[in-house]
Structures are given as C-alpha cells and as structure tokens.
Symmetry: D2
Subunit: 144 residues, 4 copies
C-alpha cells in the first residue's frame, strides 16, 4: 500500500459536491478537517437538523458522519474512480455527545482489492472521550 | 416473558407523536403496520427525502426505520414507561432496495431486565428478498 | 439463485473429513443435522471439552459451531470447489445454554458472487429460546 | 474513572489460575504482557493446538485471545470482584497471521456501571499490520 494520497482535501470536496450533492441537502453538514495515509478526520456541524430533544445529536446523524469519514479516507487513498459500497456498519453508542461539533477520526485497518475495513472514533470537539465507535466494511468494485 | 402486549398500535402512535415528534420532522416517514408478542412491523414511505441519486433508499433512512421498528417492539412489550437507549447497532446491506416502500420486520431475541436484543429484516414491499439486516442492542433503564 | 443443492449431507461430511480433519480434532464435536436451500442445521455435542465451569458451553465452542453451520450452508449451495473465508463474525450471547447438545440453525441472507451473509440462531436441544445469535460474512473467491 | 489499577499482572495471573484454570487447559496458551489504565496487552503462544492446516492461527483461537485481553483489561481496572459477561463480540478478520505469537492490544472505550465496551487489535509479533480487529461489549453485574 503506497502512502501517497491520490486526492487533496480540495479535490475531495469538489468531487463530493459534484457527485453526491445530496450529502449537503438542507445545508452543509460536514467538513473535511484533514486527510492522511490510511485516515481522515471529518467534522459534523452542531445544528438543529441533527438533534434529538435535549440537544443530543441523533443516532442517524452520527452514522452519517462516520460513513462520510470512511468514504473520504477510501477516496483519498484510491482516487475518484473508486465507487465503494458500504456492506457492514456496526456502531457502539458510548456516551451522550456534548452540544458541540462532532469530530470523526477514521483509520483504515485494511484496504484490499475487494474489501476495505475501517474504524471511526467520534468525539465532541475539544474532548478526549469517545462518544461513539464504528467499524465498517466497504466492498470495492473491480478496477479495470 | 408474558405474551400480553402493554400497548395498542394506536397508543404507540400517540406516544411517539407526543414524546418524539421529531420522528416525523419534515413529514410523516414511518407507519406502524402491526405488532405482536416480541415483534413489530413498520413501514418506511418511499419518499424523496430518503433517496440517493438513482432512487435508492439511503443507508441512514434504512437505519432509522430499523431503529424505529426495534423501539416500537420494545415499547409494545414493556409499555410507555420504558426509555430504552440503543447501545449497539449493526447493519448488513445486502441488496439495492426497489423504488417502493420499505417494510421492516423486527423480532426481539431477548428482552431481559437490563438488555434487549433484536433483529430486523428489511424488504421492499411485496418482495421476499432481504434488502438489509440489523441486529441491535438496547439498554433498559432500571424500573422503579 | 437456484434452489438445487450441490451436495448431500453425506458428501459434505466426507468433504469435511478429508479437507478439514482438524474440525474433529480431539473427537467428533459436530454433526450435520440437515441441509435445505439457503440453510443448514448443525449439532454441537454436549461434551466436557466445550464446557466452562458450571457446565456452560464456552463462547469459543459456540463460535465454532456457528461458523461450521455457515460454512456447511454455503458449501451445500455452491459445491466443494468453494473456499469461503470468514471476514466478519458478530455474535450476541443471550442466555446460558442448558446442559444439552446445542443446535445451530443457519440461514443464508445473501449468496452473491463475492460475499455471502448468513445468520445463525443457536438453541439448546428441545428448547425454543435463542441462546446466541450470529451474523457472519464470508468472502467467496473468484470462480474460474 | 480513576487511572489507578486495582491489580498487578501477578495478581491477575494468580486470579485467572485459581478461578479459571480451564483457560490453560491443554497447556498454557496466553500470557499477560502488560496492563495500563484502560488497557492490556496479551500474547497467544504460536502452538499446534491453535493452528489450521498451513500454519494459520484458527479463528476460535483469535477470538479466545481477544476475549482474554478484554477480560484482563476490565479486571485490572475493577479488581477481582468483577464478573463481567461477554454480551456482544464482533470480529473482522483482515489478514493471515504469520507463523509467530499473536499479540492482542485491548483498549477500553467505555467502562460504565453496567456496560464495558472494548476494542482489540491483533498483530503477529514484530509486525505493524492488524491481523484481526474486535469490538466487544461486557455486561457488568451490579456491585454491592
């Protein structure tokens, strides 16, 4: 596995805006904070749309940000030709998030020819406590 | 475990409308199709809001309907005092759903004093093929 | 997916005895109870080797029987050329098993070209209560 | 959560030898390499008993070492009164392990009053590649 990334943050954002505009449906929810070999960090803006009563970020919003972090990490590594599909997604909810942006750190545990496996730890901005933890598997289509 | 349900479908709908109005934020997405001892069936209306380009129902929408089905099955069994919290949620995406309503069948595998474990099979209306399969764990708070 | 099975129980047992004799290391632990389209039932003999103090069947023994049930169900469907490899295995332990043989019922949720996904419910012989529940994913190698 | 550990490695080994002698049934398989606040590292000796043909460490052996690492990390933190029970165990098999000892690094993501959630990364000794990754949940009994 080469440690050279195939896309910059700017290229990733342009790619997402063009190919998956629905990610930002209703207003921009996510931002790419940084990418690195076999990893990415993504931010979920604290926003009414993602909240449960009491100000807690909803489960589906946490799932969406984790899925986004994994997809960005895979894209950065493989380049824009990749069309990975989530096959398994397992999340443990550990603590109530604070009323702040949520940061999702993704590490690719494996990036094989057919499968990628990634883990994501989510923390409220500025906190060390893991709010939720995800392990996901992506199926990578054959490359020509 | 008694096989007697503590709530009717009507009571469940009233409870959800009152306690969790945000479930229906943006328009009514879910309907309770039926409940039974240790199980429930819930419908996700096929609707623009839940779609990915190409008309596929999005992953987060599938997660929401599965979570809803599990919560309804637990509520029906325990009554409205219960405030179960999802602790683990694991989903396998198996096939592309059709451009139809999505039916989620939940069976409670265990309903203990502290933990409930449930599985959910999701199918496009009128089809036998499982589109996605979920196993979830809920933590049940101590009852007075 | 054809509903025609490619192997009989006898052929499956011969195949396992020849290719994976270590399954029976230390004495015969498993028996194939039956196969059907997209499913199989396997028995774990109640035996000292699989026990925890107090007579409870150990977690690893439950994992082994579930894995075996999934592998038999896939082999029956694909025939002896298949060399499926477990990629994900998720188990929920629900109840203490009884001091009896353990029956594992496997259903294939999906049998695609590259991935198979199966669920397994384990019950003590003669009981309806699910003792443990597994969802597993297998990677299927390209077929020539 | 206090960062002070309640047991030393020596006390942990004595506790396991006394309370769970079956862990070492057939010869000593595991060794505690080290403990730290909210974490532990455990070694699985490369040994015939754990092998599949070709010299690969078997899935059940990997599951056993991961479960052991999680249990040691919880015990070190809570002390010998704890009797944690595995409720969910999810493993991703990523690479073939080498013909060497297997090292399992456990980190507790949460240690609550009722639930502990841990992750474990397994690597062949001297390698950086993750061979298998586990997330597990333990139910912790009420403490008097």
């Amino acid at each position: 596995m080469s440690n050279e990334l195939k896309m910059t943050v700017e290229e990733l954002e342009t790619f997402i805006d063009t190919e998956f505009p629905q990610v930002h449906h209703g207003g921009r929810s996510f931002a790419i904070e940084g990418i690195r070999p076999m990893g990415a960090t993504v931010r979920l803006f604290y926003h009414d749309r993602h909240l449960r009563p009491g100000g807690t970020i909803s489960g589906p919003a946490m799932m969406s940000i984790a899925d986004y972090a994994m997809y960005i990490a895979i894209l950065a590594q493989l380049g824009p030709v990749a069309l990975a599909v989530t096959t398994n997604f397992s999340i443990n909810f550990l603590r109530k998030p604070e009323q702040k942006d949520l940061m999702a750190d993704c590490t690719l545990l494996k990036l094989g020819k057919r499968l990628a496996v990634a883990e994501v730890s989510m923390r409220s901005e500025g906190s060390d406590d893991v709010v939720a933890h995800v392990v996901g598997t992506y199926s990578i289509p054959p490359r020509g």
